[in-house]
C-alpha cells in the first residue's frame, strides 16, 4: 500500500522540475514493481534451467568433450533445457500434440484448476499480510475448513445446490474459527501469530489424523484406513466446462473472492481500518481504531478465505474422501503466492495462475523429460525471494532506482513485503 500510494504523489511533485520527464517515467517503470516481478520470474527460470542442465546426463556427457566440440555441449544444453521448458509450456498452457483445439487447451484448464486453491489461499494470507499479520497457518486453516466442509457434506445430505452451499459455508466458518483463535490469542495475550499459526498447523494435522482413524468421527464406515467417506454427489462442486476439463466452479468462486478482496480493502471502511493497522498500529490506535479487534477480524477473514482452499480440496479436487494430508502443501505455497502477488488482489490472482501453471506444467515435465517436479519448488522460492528484495534485483540487472520509492522501501520492511 505505502509505496504504490506514496509513489505517485512525490513523483508528480518532482516531475515538473525534471527536464526529461519521459526519461524519468522510463526510470520509474524500469525500477518499478512490475518489471521487478518479471525479472524475478526470469531469475527463477534461469536457476531452474541451470539445475536441469547440470543434472542432465546428455549435457554431462557432452561437456566431457567441451573443448573438442563446444557446439555439442550447447546443443545438449538446448535439448535438455529447451525440451524441459517446452514440456512445461505444453503442460501448462496448450498442448500442440493434441489433434483439436478442445483437447489442446486441456492443460490450460488444468492450470486454472490447480491455480484455484493457490489463489484462494494466497488471498487469505495476503489479507493477513496487509494488516501486518503473518499468517503461516494456511495448512491448519485449510485442514479445518476442508474437514468441516466434508463432515457437513455427508452428515446433512441435502438436494443439489443446498447441500453444496451449506458445505461451502461450513468450510468458510471452519477456517474462520481456526484463524479467529489465532487473532484472539494475539489480541488478548500478545502471542506472536507466526509461532501460534505454525504450531496450530501441526496440532490441527494430528487432531484431524486422530479423527480420521476414529470410527464415528471422520472415518468412513466399514474401513480401517484413516480416510473419510466421500461426500455425496449433491455436495460436490460441479465442473465449470463439463467433464472433459478439470476446472470447477471453485475457479469462479476464486474470481469472486478476488473481487471481494479488492472491494474489502479498497472500498470498505473495515478494509481502511485493516490497512491503517497494517501500516502503523500505534497510529491506528491513536486514531481510534480498535487494533485488537482488527487483529481478530483480520484473522477471521483470512482464515475464512483459506477455509475455501479446504472446500476446494475436499469437494472439488479429491472427491473420493480425504486423508490427513489433503492440504497438499497449498497452505505453504499460498504464502509464496501472496508474496509474489504483493498482497494485491490482482497480483495474487496472477501469481496464483503462474504457480498453477508451473505445477500443471511441472507434472508433464516430470513425465516427459524425467525432471523431478520439485524443481517447481525451487523456482517458486527463488522468485519469491527476489520479489521480496527489489534492491537485489536492481543490482543484478543494473536497473535504476525509481524516483521516490527506494527510501521508503529501505525504511519500512513491512511495506516491502506488503507491497
Amino acid at each position: 500500500m505505502t509505496a504504490t500510494a506514496a509513489a505517485p504523489g512525490p513523483a508528480q511533485v518532482e516531475m515538473p522540475k525534471d527536464p526529461s520527464r519521459g526519461r524519468q517515467i522510463i526510470r520509474d517503470i524500469l525500477g518499478g514493481s512490475v518489471v521487478i516481478s518479471i525479472l524475478a520470474v526470469v531469475v527463477g527460470l534461469v536457476v531452474g534451467a541451470i539445475l536441469i542442465a547440470v543434472t542432465d546426463p546428455g549435457v554431462q556427457a557432452a561437456s566431457g568433450y567441451f573443448f573438442d566440440r563446444p557446439g555439442a555441449t550447447f546443443a545438449a544444453l538446448g535439448d535438455s533445457v529447451g525440451g524441459a521448458y517446452s514440456s512445461l509450456f505444453q503442460g501448462a498452457i496448450y498442448d500442440f500434440g493434441r489433434p483439436d483445439f478442445l483437447s489442446g487447451i486441456a492443460p490450460l484448464m488444468n492450470t486454472l484448476d490447480l491455480a484455484t486453491p493457490l489463489i484462494l489461499g494466497g488471498l487469505g494470507l495476503a489479507l493477513g499480510f496487509r494488516i501486518g499479520l503473518f499468517n503461516i497457518g494456511g495448512q491448519g486453516q485449510t485442514l479445518v475448513g476442508g474437514a468441516v466442509a466434508g463432515w457437513v457434506a455427508w452428515s446433512f445430505p441435502l438436494p443439489f445446490p443446498w447441500g453444496l452451499i451449506l458445505s461451502i459455508v461450513a468450510g468458510i466458518v471452519g477456517g474462520a474459527v481456526a484463524g479467529g483463535v489465532v487473532g484472539l490469542l494475539k489480541a488478548r495475550t500478545g502471542a506472536s501469530e507466526v509461532i501460534v499459526t505454525i504450531m496450530l498447523n501441526y496440532i490441527v494435522f494430528y487432531f484431524i489424523s486422530l479423527l480420521l482413524r476414529t470410527p464415528g468421527a471422520l472415518q468412513a464406515a466399514g474401513t480401517i484406513n484413516p480416510k473419510s467417506p466421500s461426500p455425496p454427489d449433491s455436495a460436490r462442486v460441479p465442473d465449470l466446462f463439463g467433464a472433459q476439463f478439470s476446472v470447477t466452479w471453485m475457479f469462479v468462486i476464486a474470481i469472486a473472492a478476488t473481487v471481494f478482496f479488492w472491494w474489502l480493502m479498497s472500498r470498505s471502511s473495515l478494509g481502511f481500518k485493516f490497512r491503517a493497522v497494517g501500516e502503523n498500529p500505534a497510529a491506528a490506535r491513536t486514531a481510534g481504531i480498535g487494533v485488537d479487534s482488527m487483529y481478530i477480524w483480520g484473522m477471521v477473514l483470512s482464515g475464512a478465505l483459506v477455509g475455501l482452499v479446504g472446500v476446494n480440496q475436499v469437494l472439488a479436487f479429491t472427491v473420493g474422501g480425504f486423508g490427513s494430508g489433503f492440504d497438499a502443501g497449498i497452505g505453504f505455497n499460498a504464502i509464496t503466492v501472496a508474496l509474489l502477488g504483493r498482497s494485491r488482489p490482482l497480483g495474487v490472482f496472477l501469481a496464483g495462475l503462474l504457480f498453477g501453471a508451473l505445477n500443471s506444467g511441472g507434472y508433464v515435465m516430470q513425465a516427459a523429460n524425467d525432471i523431478p517436479i520439485d524443481i517447481v519448488l525451487v523456482v517458486q522460492s527463488i522468485v519469491v525471494l527476489f520479489i521480496a528484495a527489489p534492491p537485489l534485483v536492481r543490482v543484478l540487472f543494473g536497473l535504476p532506482r525509481p524516483g521516490t520509492a527506494p527510501r521508503r522501501r529501505a525504511k519500512a520492511p513491512k511495506a516491502v513485503e506488503a507491497e
Partner: protein
Amino acid sequence: MTTVAGIPGAVALEKLDTRSWKTPVALGVFALGAVVLFLGLPRDGQADFQFSQSGDFFSIPDLIFTATPVCIGLAFACVLLAAGSFALVWFKRLTPLWYIGIFAALFLVGFLAWAAAGLRPLPLTGLLLGSVSLSIPLVFGSLGGVIGERTGVVNVAIEGQLLGGAFTAALVSSVTGSFTAGLFAAAVAGVLIALILGVFAITYIVEQVVVGVVVNVLVLGLTNFGYSTILTVDPEHLNRSATLPALPIPLLSQIPVIGPALFDQSIIVYVAYVAVPAVWYALFRTKWGLRARSVGEHPEAADTVGINVNRTRYLNLVIAGAIVGFGGAYFTIGSVGSFSQNMTGGQGFIALAAVIFGRWDPVRAAMAALLFGFATNLQNSLGILGSPVPSEFLLMLPYLVTVFAVAGLVGRSQAPAADGKPYIK
C-alpha cells in the same frame, strides 16, 4: 507507568502477583487431568517398569506394581501439590522450580503406570535412549535458534538447515567415506543457508519470517531435486554411508538406565552435551555474548558504543547455521546412514518451539528439546506396547505446550527486544 514517586515497590509487587498465578493454575489443570485419567478411566493390571538391561554395572530388579492404587495415590499427591502451589501464591511466595519438578515427576510416573498397566514391561532405558536420539537434532536446532534470536534474527529456516545438513552429510560421507568430511559438509551447508537468510533478512531487510519460510521451501525443493536426480541414480555410492560408531565412555556407559542412553552414543551426541553449556557460557559470560545480546536487545545502543550491528548478526547467524547444519547430520550419518525426501519432517519447527518454550536460553531450550523428544518417543514406546493413549495427542504435545507458552499461560515468554527487527542506520 503512573507510579507515584516513592512507592514503585507497590507496582512491582502487584506485577509479581498477577504473574505467578499461572503456575498454580497450570499445576491445577494437570492435577485435574490426573484425577480424570487415573480415577475416571482406571486401567487394571500390573505396571512393569524395566530398569536394567544386560551389560549393566549392576542390575536393578524390575519394579512391578498394581497400577490403579498407585495411580490414585499419585493423583492425590498431584492435587495436594497443586493446592500447595495455590497456597504459596496466596501468601505471595513464588513456587520454586524443584517443586514443579517433583510435581512433573509424580505426574509422569502416574501417567506411565496408567498407560502401561496390564501391558508388556516398559523398558525405561529404551525410553530414555529413544528420547535422547530424537532430541539431538532438536537440541542443535534450538541452540542455533537461540543464538540467532538473541542477536535479533528470527530463524524460521532451522528446518531447512537441518534438512540441508542431513542431505550434504549423507552425500559427502558416502562419496568420501569419511565421517569428518560429512560432518564438516553438513556444517557448511548450514552456513550457506544461514548466509542466504542473512543476505535477504539483514542486508535487504526482507521480513525475516518470510525469508525463513521461503528458504525452507527452497531447501526442500533443492534436496528433493538432488535426491531424485543425483542420489537415486547411484544410491550405492552416493547415498549409503555407514553410521557413526557408538563411542561408549568407560564406566559411565554401564550405569543402569542412564548409562546406555547417555554415554554409549556417537560423537554428535557428545558434541551436543558440550555445545549446550558452551553456548550458554559464550552467550552469558563472554564479551562476544554480551555484544551479541546487546545487538538483539537494543541495536541502536550497541551501535552507539561501536559494535557493528549487522556484522555481529551475520557472524552469529553463520555460527548458528554451522551448529544447526551439524545437527542435521544426525538424521543421516548419525542414525540411518541414508537420506530420504523431507526426512526432517517438521523437526525444525519443534526446535523453534523449543527456543520459545526455553525462553531464549540455551540450557532451557535444550531441556525443552529433550522434553519434546521425550514426548515424541513416549508416543512410539506406548504405541508399541499397545497403550490406549492416542499417539496423536503425544505428537501434538510439543506444539500445544508452545502455544500455551507464547500465550503466557505457562510461565512468561519474553523475546529479545529487537528480535525480528532489522537494523537500519
